[in-house]
C-alpha cells in the first residue's frame, strides 16, 4: 500500500474514532493495514491529552488586566506623542542648523587661513573683494581696491619669504586687477586723492620690484618685474594732471626715456637690478620712463635735476630734488642717493635696513651693489608697506 492510501485510511479511521468508534473496530476494518495504523492511532490518542488542558479563567482575567493596562499605556504614549512632532521637528531643525553652522565656520576658517597655492585661496581672493563691492562712491571704492591690492601684496610677500617661493598666479592677477581698478577710479577723484592713490600704487610697485629681486625662481623672477611695471603704470595713470607748462625748467630732459607727454612733474628714476654692476652705469632705456620709481634718483647720477617741477627740498610725492633721469651719466657714483627729498616714498635718512643708501650711509659707496631699485632707503625687503 502506498503512502497516499494509508493517509486516506488514517484520516478515515480518525474521523470514525472522533465520532465514537473504537480503535479496535477501526483496525478490524483494515486488517491488512492494522500493523501500520495501530501506532498512529495510539499516538493520536495520546495527543488528545492536549485537549484536557484549557486556559483557566483566572489566567484569562490576569491577561485581560495586563492587556488593558498595556492598551492604556499605549494610548497615553500616543497622546504624549501628539505633542512630539513639533518638538521633534524643531530639534531636527536645530540639529541641522548646528551642522550647517559648523560647516560654514569650518569652511570660513579654511578659506581665511588659506595661503597662495591652496585650493581655498581662490575663494579667499574672491571673498576679500567684498569691501570693494560694498563701497559706495569712487573714493571709497578706490581705497578698498588699494586695500585689496595691499592684501595681495602681503600674500606675495609671504610667498617670497617662504622657502619654496612658489608664486601663485592668482595673487599677481588679483593684485594687478585691484591696482588697475584703483587707478581707473582715481580719475574721477580730487587731485589730492589722486596723488595719494598714485603714491600708494607706486609704493606697491616698488615693493613688487623688490620682491622680484629677492626671487630665486625663474617664474617669479619674470612675473614680478612685469607686475611691478604694470602697477607702476597704474600709479602713473592715477597721478594728478600735469601743472601748467610754465613750471617746466629750461634744463635738458632728465633722461632719454622721458617724453613731453608724460609730464614734467615726473621724476624718472631708473630701475636698477643688483646685477647692474656699477651704479654709475647708465641703465637701459628700453623701459618706459613712467615705470621708473618716481622718487629714486638716477643710478648714481648727481647732476642737478632738470625737471621743471623739481623742488630740491620739496616734499612732493613724486619730487626727487636732484634725481636725474635714469640714463643720466652724471659723475656721482652713489647708487641711489636721495639728497633731501623727504617725499612720502623717499626717506633720505630712514633707519630701515633697505638696500638703498642714504647720502651719509655706507651704501653711498659706489661699489655697493645694493639691490634696491627704488629710492626709498628706509624700505627694506622686510619693512612692509
Amino acid at each position: 500500500m502506498n503512502d497516499k492510501e494509508l493517509t486516506h485510511i488514517l484520516g478515515h479511521c480518525l474521523d470514525q474514532i472522533a465520532s465514537g468508534k473504537t480503535v479496535s473496530a477501526c483496525l478490524a476494518e483494515h486488517p491488512e493495514d492494522a500493523a501500520e495504523l495501530a501506532p498512529l492511532l495510539a499516538m493520536a490518542g495520546e495527543l488528545g491529552a492536549l485537549r484536557d488542558y484549557r486556559l483557566s479563567e483566572a489566567a484569562r482575567q490576569r491577561a485581560r488586566v495586563r492587556l488593558l493596562r498595556a492598551e492604556a499605556d499605549r494610548n497615553n504614549q500616543g497622546a504624549a506623542r501628539g505633542w512630539q512632532p513639533g518638538a521633534f521637528a524643531a530639534s531636527r531643525l536645530a540639529a541641522g542648523l548646528i551642522v550647517v553652522l559648523f560647516c560654514v565656520l569650518l569652511t570660513t576658517g579654511m578659506v581665511a587661513a588659506s595661503q597662495p597655492g591652496d585650493l581655498a585661496y581662490g575663494v579667499r581672493v574672491v571673498v576679500e573683494r567684498a569691501p570693494a563691492w560694498l563701497a559706495r562712491g569712487p573714493a571709497s571704492r578706490a581705497r578698498a581696491e588699494l586695500g585689496i591690492a595691499a592684501r595681495r601684496l602681503a600674500d606675495l610677500d609671504r610667498t617670497m619669504s617662504s622657502q619654496e617661493q612658489h608664486l601663485d598666479q592668482r595673487t599677481v592677477a588679483a593684485l594687478l586687477a585691484s591696482a588697475e581698478r584703483a587707478a581707473a577710479l582715481a580719475a574721477s577723484l580730487p587731485v589730492a586723492e589722486q596723488a595719494e592713490i598714485s603714491a600708494r600704487l607706486a609704493e606697491q610697485a616698488r615693493r613688487i620690484a623688490q620682491l622680484g629681486q629677492l626671487s630665486r625662481s625663474i617664474q617669479s623672477g619674470a612675473a614680478l618685474p612685469a607686475a611691478a611695471e604694470r602697477v607702476q603704470r597704474a600709479a602713473e595713470h592715477a597721478r594728478p594732471p600735469t601743472p601748467p607748462p610754465d613750471a617746466q625748467p629750461a634744463g635738458p630732459a632728465a633722461g632719454p626715456t622721458r617724453t613731453p607727454a608724460q609730464g614734467a612733474h615726473r621724476t624718472p628714476t631708473a630701475e636698477r637690478t643688483p646685477a647692474s654692476g656699477s651704479h654709475a652705469t647708465q641703465q637701459p632705456t628700453s623701459r618706459p620712463a613712467h615705470i621708473a620709481t618716481p622718487l629714486g634718483p638716477g643710478p648714481g647720477a648727481t647732476a642737478p635735476h632738470p625737471g621743471p617741477s623739481v623742488t630740491p627740498a620739496g616734499p612732493g610725492p613724486s619730487a626727487t630734488p636732484q634725481g636725474p633721469g635714469p640714463s643720466a651719466t652724471a659723475p656721482h657714483p652713489g647708487p641711489s642717493v636721495t639728497p633731501a627729498g623727504p617725499g612720502p616714498s623717499a626717506t633720505p635718512q630712514g633707519p630701515g635696513p633697505g638696500p638703498e643708501a642714504t647720502p651719509a650711509g655706507p651704501r653711498s659707496d659706489p661699489t655697493s651693489p645694493g639691490p634696491g631699485a627704488g629710492s626709498d632707503p628706509g624700505e627694506g625687503p622686510g619693512s612692509g608697506h
Partner: protein
C-alpha cells in the same frame, strides 16, 4: 467545542484595536487566546508557562497592531497566522532562555504540585505533556499546527484546512507525517508498556 472565527468579526476588531479600543483588544484575546494557549502549551509542555506566554502574545499584539496589515481576502486566517508567528517567536525566546538558565530542583517548582488533588496523577500528566511537547518540537511548523488544530482544538480536516489556509488533502498528509514522526521519536504508550 471548536468555535469558528468569522471573517466579519476580525474585520471589525482589528481596525478597532488599531484605534486603541481596549474593549476590542479584550475581544480579540477571547477569540484567539485558547488556540494560542494550546499552541504554546504543545511547544513548552508547561501549562503555567503557556498561560504567561499567551498573555505575552497579546501584549505584543497591542504593541504592534498599528503596523499589522490585514489580508482582506482571508482576514481570520491572516490574523491567526500573525498570532502564531508571534507565539512561535516567544516560544523560541523561552527555549533559548531556558537553555541558559541553570537547572532547578523539583522542590522549587512546588506550587504546581500543590494544585493537583492527586500529586502522582498530576506528575504523570505533566510528564506525558512534556514528552509530547518534546516530540512536537521536532516537527515542522506546518505539521505542528495541524496536530494542535486537530488534537488541541478538535477541528475537523475541513476546519483545519480553512484555519490554516490549506487543502484538506494537505492537512491529511501533514497529519500522517506528523504522527509517523512522533511514533518514531516517542514510541507509543502501548509500545513502551
Amino acid at each position: 467545542m471548536f468555535a469558528a472565527i468569522e471573517d466579519a468579526q476580525v474585520l471589525s476588531l482589528i481596525p478597532a484595536c488599531q484605534r486603541g479600543d481596549a474593549g476590542a483588544v479584550a475581544r480579540l484575546y477571547d477569540l484567539y487566546a485558547g488556540r494560542i494557549y494550546h499552541y504554546v502549551l504543545a511547544r513548552t509542555g508547561d501549562p503555567h508557562t503557556a498561560e504567561d506566554l499567551t498573555a505575552d502574545v497579546f501584549l505584543r499584539v497591542v504593541q504592534h497592531v498599528q503596523r499589522f496589515k490585514l489580508d482582506a481576502s482571508r482576514p481570520a486566517s491572516s490574523v491567526s497566522a500573525w498570532l502564531y508567528r508571534i507565539a512561535a517567536n516567544l516560544v523560541a525566546d523561552y527555549h533559548r532562555a531556558r537553555r541558559r538558565r541553570p537547572l532547578v530542583s523539583i522542590d522549587e517548582e512546588a506550587p504546581f504540585a500543590f494544585e493537583a488533588p492527586d500529586p502522582c496523577q498530576q506528575a504523570e500528566r505533566r510528564e506525558a505533556l512534556e514528552r509530547l511537547s518534546g516530540g512536537l518540537e521536532k516537527l515542522t511548523e506546518d505539521q505542528r499546527l495541524v496536530v494542535i488544530c486537530k488534537y488541541g482544538e478538535g477541528m475537523s480536516n475541513a476546519q483545519a484546512a480553512a484555519w490554516l489556509g490549506k487543502t484538506e488533502g494537505a492537512i491529511e498528509a501533514l497529519q500522517h507525517r506528523a504522527l509517523r514522526t512522533l511514533c518514531r521519536l516517542l514510541g507509543t504508550r502501548h509500545g513502551r508498556e
